[in-house]
Amino acid sequence: MADLFLPSVATIQDRRDETPDTRTYRLRFRDAAEHERFQFIPGQFLELSVFGLGEAPFCFASSPTRKQSIEVTVRRTGQLTDALHAMDAGDEVGLRGPCGNGFDLAAAAGHDLLFIAGGIGLPPLRGLIWNVLDTRERFGRVTILYGARTPADLVYKDELGVWQNRGDVELHTTVDRGDAGWAGNVGMVPILFDRAELRPANTLVYVCGPPIMITFVIQDLLARGFAAEQIISTLERMMQCGVGKCNHCCIGHRWVCRDGPVFTYRQIQEMVE
């Protein structure tokens, strides 16, 4: 039986600033064979250790179709992420995982896919988006709606351009407040619904972002004819063990870390505590 709490050592390859408080780290397991063996699916997460400070859960921001490194996008918001932001290429961290259920890619095959993200909610979807784009022929239309508070808060700015320029992706972005250099949409994410061509019949929707955004987006989606089963989101809770033991992340009798973090809106509605 593998030891449940034992992390593997990984090395930071490089880091990239996304926003003033958010960075993306590229990681590789120190043991090359372990790196090759390691498998995950988008929507799962890993427990990242800063040795001496403990572990925190981060979603895979990269796709398993791109095996050269594992990427996590981290907002600086507490002790551990402060320490992580002080780390750079060559520094070592611990990785444990993958944890959680992940997105069901097989079930998504053949569907149109609508990704809706707010702010730091794009990283969990980015791994899925690249996985879909790398196996593009398996899926129908791909539409991405992404919003952030300001232009500076948009993550993966280069990639937004790449997606925009691909002929097989429809991308719309918006910001709550523009600035001098911003010529795009201004307003909350739901304003993008009227700019995109939505076809509820054969679409799966992946929603990720701050709770208030998710609430409004889901209301809109339901009003536009999407069913609760078609709306898929990832839940966040304070997590510690990541393997359904410590119970910090429970909602009712479900563990967000093990039964989730990916749930359909139908499942979320049925949660009782």
């Binding site: 039986m1 593998a2 030891d3 449940l4 709490f5 034992l6 992390p7 593997s8 050592v9 120190r30 250790s49 040795f51 001496g52 400070l53 403990g54 572990e55 925190a56 918001t77 507490g78 551990l80 992420t81 070592e92 611990g94 709770p211 966040e236 809770r237 304070m238 510690q240 063990c241 393997v243 359904g244 033991k245 410590c246 119970n247 910090h248 429970c250 909602i251 009712g252 009798h253 009782v272 505590e273």
Partner: protein
């Protein structure tokens, strides 16, 4: 020799048996503390072991789930980190554990064995032998009969002892229990049919003394599971909770934990430490968001985990063994029987 499932040892020979066990393994059992309290401790001789007591102040869970348990050691050498599992499990016998506490271990085992198995816990569990001592008389605050946790057990023990006149009736529940009898042929003999009958009589008599069910879990379960308990009732109960976490720490079935890195001479130990769902920080996220900001939400969480049908279906039991320790430890009045009664009646008077 094949050890039969039921044996008898003379009470006068118990000391010899226990001393021989102490000679070959760690034996932990109830003993009298300096001020008269019943404590669980490693025994250095059979004379320290209590046979006539109600129950220990604390449950024995700390011997399988230590308050602070190193799980991983992290060292740095020449700029590189090395992480290794810490495995310090060693054989131990927990002696004269009351039925409620043995049932508590059954709950903990089932939970830790659920895939993915909790290796640290299961390693300790494998090395632990549980000797249950049945209860002839009810303890003042216990309600084990309501939780199917006593005063006698039919499973979950390695050995079960029942005092019977000048002898002790011994039931073997597992190979680990049988191992405690190896090489002791002189002390034990197979139980006679009359003794088996006497043992049944003693249990029936004990069950009469323990009386009927007083803590109505089923009734509380119906309300909790469907979310039919008004938040105002939870808030009223929470008014009588001082958020000390005592009920969690004293509960034989509570196991929620946090993970912390502790500095140890140039290395770190990643430790599992007991935590309490009654603390506001239990669900506090780094962003500052807290889904259980109010104490009423946290009290509701505790009792949802303990008595909801959702958990009952998942775990096969309520998360209570009726030991009554939360009644003793609660600084307010938010103990299990009081809350179950409040849920059942839909009202709370503190």
């Amino acid at each position: 020799m094949t050890v039969p499932q039921a044996l008898v040892i003379r009470k006068a020979d118990l000391g010899t048996w226990v001393d021989s066990l102490i000679g070959r393994t760690e034996v932990i059992g109830p003993t009298r503390g300096p001020r008269g309290d019943v404590l669980l401790a490693t025994l250095s001789g059979a004379r320290e072991l209590l046979w006539d007591f109600t129950n220990a102040l604390q449950p024995p869970k700390q011997f399988l789930l230590p308050q602070t348990e190193p799980l991983v050691q992290i060292r740095t050498a020449r700029g590189h980190a090395q992480a290794e599992s810490v495995a310090d499990a060693h054989p131990q016998v927990l002696f004269n554990v009351r039925s409620c506490d043995v049932k508590g271990f059954a709950v903990l085992r089932r939970m830790h064995a659920q895939p993915p198995g909790d290796t640290a816990y299961l390693r300790r569990d494998e090395q632990t032998t549980l000797v249950c001592l049945t209860c002839p008389t009810p303890c003042p605050l216990g309600f084990c009969v309501c939780a199917d946790a006593g005063p006698f057990l039919e499973e979950h023990f390695d050995l079960q002892l029942t005092a019977m006149d000048d002898a002790m009736f011994v039931e073997v529940g597992s190979a680990k229990g049988r191992a405690l009898l190896e090489g002791q042929d002189r002390l034990f003999r197979p139980a006679a049919a009359s003794e088996v009958a006497r043992r049944a009589e003693i249990e029936a008599e004990a069950r009469r003394r323990f009386g009927p069910v007083t803590c109505h879990f089923g009734s509380a379960m119906r309300r909790v599971s469907t979310g039919r308990v008004a938040q105002a009732l939870w808030d009223a109960i929470a008014d009588w909770c001082l958020e000390c976490g005592g009920c969690n720490f004293i509960c034989p079935t509570c196991y929620c934990f946090s993970v912390r890195d502790r500095r140890e001479d140039g290395s770190w130990e990643r430790c599992r430490v007991w935590d309490s769902c009654q603390y506001a920080a239990f669900t506090l996220e780094a962003s500052g968001h807290n889904p259980r900001k109010r104490q009423g939400g946290r009290v509701r969480r505790r009792f949802f985990h303990k008595v909801s049908a959702q958990y009952y279906q998942k775990d096969g039991d309520v998360g209570c063994v009726g030991c009554g320790r939360c009644i003793t430890v609660c600084l307010g009045t938010a103990d299990m029987p009081a809350v179950v009664e409040a849920l059942r009646k839909g009202e709370w008077h503190g």
